[in-house]
């Protein structure tokens, strides 16, 4: 049991020493959404994920936000939380009605 523990610690330390640290990993996770990382970087990130639940979550959550964000406006289109005041709407209609569509 003790031997297993020590083996695990050595594996974790080895991976840690051969992969970017978590602060760097968070930067790389964002960058990966802009342009694909090189193969060697991808491998190192994968390797890091093997020993780090936090970076796995971070990347997964960033990808989720990336996928979800485009729905922001669609999501509140039907019932906008923010509204234009009635005064502003009246002004708007007046302005539009006063406009000759052909000019």
């Amino acid at each position: 049991m003790k031997r297993l523990q020590s083996l695990k610690m050595r594996w974790v330390t080895w991976v840690w020493n051969h992969t970017p640290n978590c602060a760097e990993m968070s930067r790389l996770a964002s960058l990966a959404l802009e342009r694909p990382p090189s193969l060697s970087m991808r491998l190192r990130m994968r390797l890091h994920h093997l020993i780090c639940a936090w970076c796995r979550r971070y990347e997964k959550q960033l990808r989720f936000l990336h996928r979800a964000a485009p729905h922001l406006d669609k999501a509140d289109h039907d019932k906008p939380a923010v509204r234009l005041s009635n005064d502003a709407k009246r002004r708007l209609i007046e302005r539009l009605n006063g406009q000759d569509p052909r000019t």
Binding site: N21, A23, P70, K79, P80, K89
Partner: protein, 214 residues
């Protein structure tokens, strides 16, 4: 995500005349009734200023009125109007980028540092208790209006320029190169700003939505 709206803008610019009977596309009262709130909300998130947002909505309607006969009715009227508004907003960004600078590297440079170990063998690693927590089935939240309200308010907490970059990239789906062109910033600075925006937004959503005691 931006492909259809790009097409949309091109379609709107193409001078194709269609019969606009049956109420017609250009019916100001119905237009305002149906779309003004949504357009205003869209503009406010991106311009951060009620007056500017109102003006942008008005300009959008005026432009739409002038181009009403070009509206092909192929896609939703809302999409068409949002496309016009989006271009107006990007024009304003363009002006800001030309006259001052759209780069903001001050925001969130250090804020997350306290979540990483400062030294030791695992320096730069997440402090376990402060690292990202598991989000249970996040996709299920996308159907819920309060989730988007939280998303919106978290975006509003970002500094304006950082938020503008984030919304352009993530919400409007504009690609990096095009954002750099519009805002007149370097790709490297864009990446730094996006990284910090995502980090701050992730943390905000985690605090105010995913781990909020109900």
């Amino acid at each position: 995500m931006d492909a259809p709206s790009q097409l949309q803008i091109r379609a709107a610019a193409k001078p194709v005349v269609t019969p606009s009977g049956g109420g017609g596309a250009a019916d100001p009262e119905r237009w305002v009734e149906q779309h003004a709130d949504a357009l205003y909300q869209y503009a406010l998130l991106r311009l951060r200023n009620p007056q500017k947002a109102e003006d942008a909505v008005q300009e959008t309607y005026l432009a739409a009125l002038r181009g009403a006969n070009r509206f092909e009715g192929r896609s939703a009227e809302r999409t068409w109007l949002v496309g016009i508004l989006r271009n107006k907003i990007f024009d304003q960004y363009r002006t800001i980028g030309r006259e001052t600078s759209f780069t903001d590297l001050g925001f969130y440079g250090d804020e997350e540092r306290d979540r990483f170990l400062p030294d030791g063998v695992f320096a730069g690693g997440w402090i376990h208790e402060l690292g990202p927590v598991e989000w249970k089935d996040p996709a299920a939240h996308c159907d819920r209006a309060p989730f988007w309200e939280t998303f919106r308010s978290c975006t509003m907490k970002l500094p304006h320029k950082v938020a503008a970059v984030f919304t352009m990239r993530e919400v409007d789906g504009v690609d990096s190169k095009e954002i750099c062109d519009i805002l007149n910033i370097s790709e490297n600075n864009l990446w730094v700003m996006l990284h910090r925006a995502r980090m701050a937004l992730r943390r905000c959503l985690e605090t105010h939505w995913f781990t909020k005691p109900s």
